[in-house]
């Protein structure tokens, strides 16, 4: 005997303002097998949940329907409620009368009629629900961290410190990422290398961390606890264990190009370490640039290497490894301001980005810390900072705010005033966003030092003679203003990596319209993804500054440690199941399964006194993720999906049709 209880949530006025909940309650009471109906202001609150528990006991309910918000929001909550009332948690069904009804319709009568249909659907489905039980799968306690910037380093160290093995994969020849390019950090003006380099060394020397630089993730299979990952370890052409990092090779190498680490402001050779503090401090050969690889002649580096570490014949190696969890920490790219014709299409040498300025200010940068105009090497007397280049621009850039630019611009202004006596700086801004500990004070300091803040977005930057003319409106004056500047620094937007989407597909995680990876919940699950076992850290999830990035790295590590605290994982029981009596053994289902969870087995049956053996399909519940593709491929209807059975879906269809 099915005894269904229906709990209708007002959600304050979120539902009740549009849906006539009392009328809905009256209606629900008349639905088949419904023995109890109750309304709550907030069903998800503790008193609301207590009501459910009480009703289950008092009215001997064995099925529960909650008509409230999206099951994506609170299904887990109410399943737990059922469990605590000793009812199998899968005997719950939610009717989404908030996101799919009260919030998207205005007409009360229409919304209430629709809510009735939605409750009818849930009641119909829950009748056919069966108790389900989670199965357990073993966890491989080894983590993969993708990206060796500060986010990845932090995550790797925190996981490794908890005693778990970590592989840290980095695409570049060194770890360190963006932070290594910075000179100082706001709002404390700590030297970036001074706080980062020790962490890089720690990561390299940690007994639990394997550092794989110059490597990329190519394929990811499996599932939480058991990911199978293919990683390409690109040929560095250097025998790392033989190399002493003496530097003789890159001193003698005749092939030069712009150094990516200095954004082309300085030069590097074909055999190179990106910067002196690189970790590992061993060179790689850029095969596109190397004269030997292009012409078959040269080998100068090999001749000068006393350790005999140069190995031209090295090949890429693809390794396959198993991991229990993955942290994506692939960072961001800078917006390309060449789309702005009004700022000169990126053609003026003295129009640079904030990151360029970091390299110019840095004592280890291409100009030894002297800020010079790229065009003529002169010290700039007037510098203009342009905020929101690409950010907050739906026409040519991205719609979001890049979050870090206001503060690093204040930092740049402070540093220029310290480095160049008598310098004039102008900061053109739309809004100054200084929401962070010590940030507002830092911004005030920039103003005190003499940075002139002008409220208005720059309309044009163009060359006149030796100077750059910057035109804009001072919107506080309501007047057009112009500055004749020596150097213009653009605060370009932080954007997702150009290939972030392809990595997302490889990992099977989702990304937003800007290409940033999507967290499972914007507030409550900020470092998880919708794919179990894959976590996010740093700017690959959205623009952020260093403090937030480090916090996220640590948070992602905590989530991994959480997972690794268990020997076995409980798997969702909503998996495919075979009715062996109906299965014809055709195995059409097998190729549709993306998880290779379906196999065949032989069963024996007693039929009319004889023992018959035949082949049927079988599902590995640990591997099955419950997509249901096999159910549709099945011609006899033997394959079914627990929790979303054919019978249930048909009952739902029947219930919602007019």
């Amino acid at each position: 005997m099915k005894r269904v209880g229906v709990f209708l949530c007002w959600c304050g006025s979120n539902i009740a303002a549009t849906v006539d909940v009392p009328a809905l309650a009256e209606y629900a009471a008349k639905l088949p097998n419904v023995v109890y109906v109750e309304q709550n202001k907030y069903t998800c609150s503790e008193p609301g949940q207590e009501q459910i528990r009480k009703a289950i006991a008092e009215h001997r309910l064995n099925r529960v329907v909650v008509a409230a918000c999206s099951p994506r929001m609170h299904e887990t909550t109410f399943r737990r409620t059922l469990a605590s009332a000793s009812l199998n948690p899968y005997l719950l069904e939610m009717a989404n009368v908030r996101e799919h009804c009260s919030w998207v319709h205005q007409d009360r009568a229409e919304a209430t009629a629709k809510a009735r249909a939605l409750v009818r659907r849930a009641v119909a489905k829950v009748q056919l629900a069966r108790p389900l039980f989670q199965s357990s799968i073993p966890v491989n306690r080894r983590a993969l961290v993708i990206g060796g910037g500060i986010a990845g380093i932090q995550a790797a160290l925190d996981i490794a410190d908890s005693g778990h093995k970590v592989v840290l994969v980095e695409r570049e020849p060194t770890i360190g990422g963006r932070m290594a390019q910075l000179d100082k950090t706001f709002p404390t003006l700590d030297c970036s290398s001074c706080i980062l380099t020790p962490k890089m060394v720690d990561a390299a020397q940690h007994e639990n961390i394997q550092l794989w630089t110059y490597s990329e993730v190519e394929e990811v299979g499996g599932y939480v606890g058991n990911f199978q990952v293919k990683i390409r370890r690109r040929a560095t052409s250097i025998n790392a264990s033989a190399c002493t990092g003496c530097g003789a090779c890159w001193e003698k190498c005749p092939a030069k190009t712009g150094n990516e680490f200095d954004l082309g402001l300085g030069q590097r050779k074909a055999i190179y370490v990106p910067f002196p503090q690189a970790v590992p401090n061993k060179p790689v050969i850029d095969r596109d640039l190397c004269i030997y690889f292009k012409t078959g002649r040269c080998r100068i580096c090999q001749r000068f290497c006393t350790a005999g570490a140069v190995e031209f014949e090295q090949q890429d190696v693809v390794v396959e490894e198993t991991f229990g969890a993955i942290v994506a920490a692939t960072g961001f790219e800078q917006f390309d301001h060449a789309v702005y014709g009004e700022y000169g299409y990126g053609k003026h040498p003295d129009v640079i980005t904030g990151l360029h300025l970091e390299r110019l200010i840095s004592a280890s940068g291409p100009s030894d810390g002297k800020v010079k105009r790229p065009s003529n090497g002169a010290v700039p007397e007037t510098v203009v900072f342009v905020q929101c280049v690409g950010s907050r621009d739906e026409a040519k850039g991205v719609s979001y705010c890049s979050r870090a630019c206001c503060m690093y611009t204040a930092k740049h202004a402070i540093m220029l005033h310290e480095k160049i006596p008598g310098v004039s700086t102008f900061v053109f801004y739309i809004d100054v966003r200084a929401a962070g500990k010590g940030y507002e004070e830092f911004y005030a300091r920039a103003q005190e030092l003499g940075a002139q803040y002008v409220r208005g977005r720059v309309a044009r930057v163009y060359q006149r003679g030796d100077k750059l003319v910057v035109m804009g409106e001072d919107t506080l004056l309501g007047a057009k203003v112009q500055v004749e500047a020596d150097l213009v620094v653009l605060a370009t937007a932080m954007t997702a990596r150009h290939d972030a989407q392809s990595l997302a597909r490889t990992l099977g995680i989702s990304y937003d319209q800007n290409g940033f990876f999507t967290e499972a919940h914007p507030k409550l699950r900020p470092v998880e993804t919708n794919t179990a076992g894959i976590f996010l850290a740093g700017a690959c999830q959205g623009p952020k500054d260093i403090p937030d990035t480090v916090a996220q790295g640590t948070a992602a590590a905590a989530k991994v440690n959480n997972l690794f605290a268990k020997e076995n994982l409980l798997a969702e029981p909503t998996v495919a199941t075979v009715n062996e009596a109906w299965c014809s053994g055709c195995l059409w289902c097998k190729p549709t399964c993306p998880y290779r969870a379906i196999d065949s087995k032989t069963i024996s049956q007693r039929q009319v006194g004889k023992i018959l053996t035949r082949q049927v399909a079988t599902v590995n519940a640990g591997l099955c993720q419950g997509c249901g593709a096999c159910t549709v491929a099945c011609r006899t209807g033997a394959m079914n999906l627990l929790g979303f059975s054919n019978e249930q879906i048909l009952a739902e269809v029947d219930a919602i049709c007019p």
Binding site: E342, T382, C388, R392, D393, E394, A395, K396, G397, S424, F426, I430, Q452, R455, G456, R457, V458, A459, R460, M471, G472, E473, D474, T475, L477, G478, A479, K480, V481, Q482, V483, E484
Partner: protein, 203 residues
Amino acid sequence: MLSIKGKRGDAVVRTITLSALEPGRTRLQGEVEAMGGTNVRRCYQCGKCSGGCPASFAMEAQPRQVMRMVQLGDREGALATNTIWLCASCLACTTRCPREVEIAGVMEALRIISRRERRVPSDRNVALFHDIFVDAIRRRGRLNEFELAMRYKLASRNLFADIAQGISMMLRGKLALIPHKYRGRAQVQAIFRRIKEAEVKRS
């Protein structure tokens, strides 16, 4: 190195009682949007339009400020500035706006609203010139620049300005004295008639 170009006109300093204006999406906004096809609400007052406006030195209010007036529903303010008449429709603002607001389109809409409401244009000469221009098309179907210049100068009581240029233009054969006469004229006049009829019907 900050230099402010030009001088602002004698903008009247007013206290605006915001609560007395229409709340939410105002009627003025609606009218402007219907004509300019643009959502003025989207403007976030960054000033990129005005910073690049070549005529802003002569304007009483920056184009950005006119956007603000429309957002607030400040009809009197928006229609009283000479800004709407000094907009040359060069579209530098529209092309650069990060919020894709068609600023020049808004100016155009405000000029037409001002006309519809038979207000005294805040720049009489600009308005007068356009009137005479359009009337000249109505008369002949094509524009006779000489006739336009003469009629404008008569109407603006400024007959002797540019007289030297006028004469030298004539000497260079640049001002055709003979008005065009051709079949298209009747059709153009029919267009004017239909528009007039539509206007009468609307009011």
